[in-house]
């Protein structure tokens, strides 16, 4: 009996030793835990799946060696400066609910002891989650929320890689100026007086009214004449008096911030009223939805919309093409605005950790404020990633840029979005002026 107990004690002690010693042996390849909060169920679940797949793909690339991918994180397995530590993503679902998002963030920080947070797509959720991170002093990188206010709060633990609505609106005015300077592919320089009159109609929730204000600001700054500017209810069943008002302004450029059904109704009404401005531009959202294209068909040829990622980028940028192939193999779909930005968000996390060489929040903070990722390492068509560490846009990537796409009919007679801005990545000649419906 005694020997039996003795042998058991020795077996147990060996086991115990193994338990204690095992982590020491693998200490070099420790895991780095990143909490990722996305809308994985609910109304935006489709976007959530894309976001998740984008972040997962970036983690896979970071955790293995892929010499043919021209990005730093593909060159070594894991984070080199942390002894090849692997990135481990812990996903949580916020269902589009800011309160739930904040709870998930607390769970990740307190229970899972994550080293940082990535998320959350919805600006409203990013707002609450970043407040939790700020409170606990945990770094958070945001890849895809575009409300300008997020980086205007002076947070010390929040960085955003995506450009926001202010940038997108500025892009439009840069395009207009580019038109007058002959910078646009396929269009000769036109006198400014031909496009000086602007009119805008934006839906009246927080997003649209904010865009409307931005249009006002920028038209002053760029010296365009805003002849008409109003808000309308996105739920409107009829926009004919709005469209007549736009027409009456004799604007050369008509700008819209619309959700899906109102974007369709707006363009339908413009068509019925035979409106013929020289430029029609939509601030993403409704103007980029598949329904917009399907419902309106050929009549949208020539309409512009801002966007962040288009399949065309893949054709222009080799790296984006390579990553797209991997993404397609993984999910069956092409990279989109959500997945490409989620990918870039996690890529930025890896680069920051690499630079920090530590998982201490203070070191990460220092590294994030000093990080620079050149544009050629990104799948998105930006000049790079570099965060503002002072001023009134703390934590905002200053090298991002949006895209402006134009619906054009391709050789097969299908309507596709071609890139017309930025000028150096434009994929087709711009149709100018808008030919009418």
């Amino acid at each position: 009996m005694k020997t039996f107990v003795k042998s058991w004690i020795s077996v147990l002690s060996v086991l115990l030793m193994m338990v204690f010693l095992a982590p020491a042996g693998t200490m070099a390849a420790e895991e780095i835990k990143i909490g990722v909060i996305y809308p994985l169920t609910g109304g935006a679940a489709a976007a959530g799946r894309e976001l998740r797949a984008g972040a997962e793909l970036a983690a896979e690339i970071a955790n293995s060696t892929m010499a043919d991918l021209p990005m730093t994180m593909a060159q070594n397995s894991g984070v080199k400066s942390l002894g090849g530590a692997k990135i481990k993503l812990i996903f949580k679902d916020h269902e589009g609910n800011p309160t739930l998002g904040a709870d998930q963030a607390k769970k990740l920080i307190l229970d899972d002891k994550v080293d940082g947070i990535l998320g959350c797509y919805f600006s409203s959720v990013t707002k609450t989650v970043s407040a939790v991170c700020e409170q606990y002093g945990i770094p958070m990188i945001n890849g895809s929320s575009t409300s300008p206010a997020l980086t205007e709060r002076g947070f010390k633990w929040f960085w955003r890689t995506t450009p926001h609505d202010k940038w997108f609106t500025k892009d439009l005015f840069e395009l207009l100026v580019g038109l007058t300077e002959g910078k646009v592919k396929g269009v000769k320089a036109i006198p400014k007086k031909d496009i000086i009159n602007i009119a805008s109609a934006c839906e009246k929730t927080e997003w649209g009214s904010h865009v409307s204000e931005l249009i006002k600001e920028f038209s002053k700054e760029y010296k365009f004449k805003l002849r008409k500017s109003f808000l309308y209810a996105a739920k409107s069943a009829d926009l004919s008096s709005e469209v007549r008002s736009l027409k009456a302004s004799r604007a050369d450029v008509m700008l819209f911030a619309s959700y899906t059904s109102d974007a369709i109704l707006m363009v339908k009404t413009l068509k019925a009223q035979k409106a013929q401005p020289k430029i029609i531009w939509g601030q993403d959202a409704g103007f980029e939805k598949p329904e917009f294209r399907e419902t309106l068909g050929d009549s949208i040829s020539g309409i512009l919309t801002r966007t962040v990622f288009l399949p065309k980028v893949v054709e222009i940028k080799k790296l984006a093409g390579q990553v797209n192939d991997m993404y397609k193999k993984k999910t069956g779909n092409d990279l989109g605005g959500a997945s490409a930005r989620a990918f870039t968000g996690l890529q930025t996390w890896v680069a920051v950790l690499e630079k920090a060489g530590s998982t201490k929040p203070a070191d990460i903070q220092k590294a994030a404020n000093a990080i620079y990722i050149p544009g050629k390492e990104l799948v998105v068509p930006w000049q790079g990633i570099k965060f503002a560490s002072t001023g009134n846009e703390m934590g905002q990537n200053v090298l991002g840029s949006g895209l402006i796409g134009q619906y054009q009919k391709n050789k097969d007679g299908k309507i596709e979005l071609e890139i017309v801005y930025p000028f150096d990545v434009s994929s087709a000649d711009m149709i100018f002026p808008f030919a009418g419906f």
Partner: protein, 304 residues
């Protein structure tokens, strides 16, 4: 100038359709002294009927008027016999709350069946086509057709009320139900008929509207309010009043257009800065308020 004439034209066209929307309300009120809060929901049902029939058969909603009329007629009759007949015996408050309940019921039923998203007609014979009347005035074909058919429907109802025995019986019931009953007029059936005609005329208006308006289960309230304004303006129970007031209200909804005309004619910056289109329905309610305060009988009203 084209802005002014364009707005005038648009106001009159939409006014003709709005008049038809209000017609049902004024008939029901005229005959039975009951205010139907669910009127807008009848319109919503008419819009869905037009839309779904058109999509099902692959035709323009303009051609679905008979179906919409039948649905509206039956709906009116069913509502009368299944519901109104009972609450009409109660006090005025019961009638108000009763039709209010009917409104909530129909709206939520539509929400359950159709969901909350907007639906609209995107294809059809006239959809997307428009006429250029010169002077820069452009009239969408669907609107013109809808306005024309509205006037036709309006005229048909007017003829029914004034040139037929049934119409006379309806008028008699409206004037003095008890007297009419003594004269052998089946007033119960007349009441039901008023609901039927009222329902049919508003569902026809719905099927016309859906040619260029999108529909969702909540669309009714806007039209209930507008119909109230029209009926108050034209006088409760007055058919010509409803037509005339419809045109006036149509023009009122075009106030932003007139505003634009003046702001560009005088090139007044401050006028251009006023977001008039955001308040286009406000003026309708202002008119409603004024008429209720200063002339509760309305312009053509004959009922106290």
């Amino acid at each position: 100038m084209d802005i002014l004439i364009g707005s005038l034209f648009a106001g009159l066209l939409i006014g003709m359709i709005l008049a038809l929307v209000a017609l049902g309300l004024t008939i029901i009120f005229g005959v039975m002294d009951i205010v139907n809060f669910a009127h807008g929901e009848f319109l919503m049902i008419g819009m869905y009927t037009g839309l779904l029939t058109a999509q099902g058969l692959g035709i323009d909603p303009l051609f679905t008027l008979p179906v919409a009329a039948l649905v509206g007629f039956l709906l009116g009759i069913i509502c009368y016999f299944g519901f109104i007949k009972f609450i009409i015996r109660g006090p005025m408050v019961a009638q108000l709350l009763g039709t209010f309940g009917l409104m909530l019921f129909l709206r939520n039923l539509a929400l359950l069946i159709f969901g909350s998203e907007d639906r609209a007609v995107h294809t059809g014979l006239l959809v997307g086509k428009s006429f250029d009347l010169g002077l820069g005035i452009i009239v969408p074909a669907t609107k013109l057709a809808a306005a024309g058919l509205s006037v036709a429907a309006f005229f048909a109802v007017w003829m029914l009320m004034h040139r037929t025995r049934v119409g006379k019986a309806l008028t008699a019931t409206a004037l003095d139900a008890q007297g009419a009953r003594y004269m052998g007029i089946p007033t119960e059936r007349m009441n039901a008929l008023a609901w039927g005609i009222g329902g049919a005329s508003v569902t026809i208006a719905g099927a016309l509207l859906v040619n260029f308006w999108s529909v969702n289960p909540f669309i009714g309230l806007l039209f209930t309010m507008i119909a109230f304004a029209i009926v108050a303006l034209g006088g409760f129970g007055s058919i010509p009043g409803a037509f005339f007031a419809g045109l006036v209200v149509g023009l009122i909804t075009e106030i932003p257009g007139f505003w634009d005309f003046f702001s560009y004619t005088f090139d007044a910056e401050w006028m251009m800065d006023v977001p008039m289109t955001s308040f286009k329905y406000m003026w309708v309610y202002v008119a409603y308020f004024l008429i209720v305060v200063f002339r509760p009988r309305g312009l053509f009203g004959w009922k106290q």
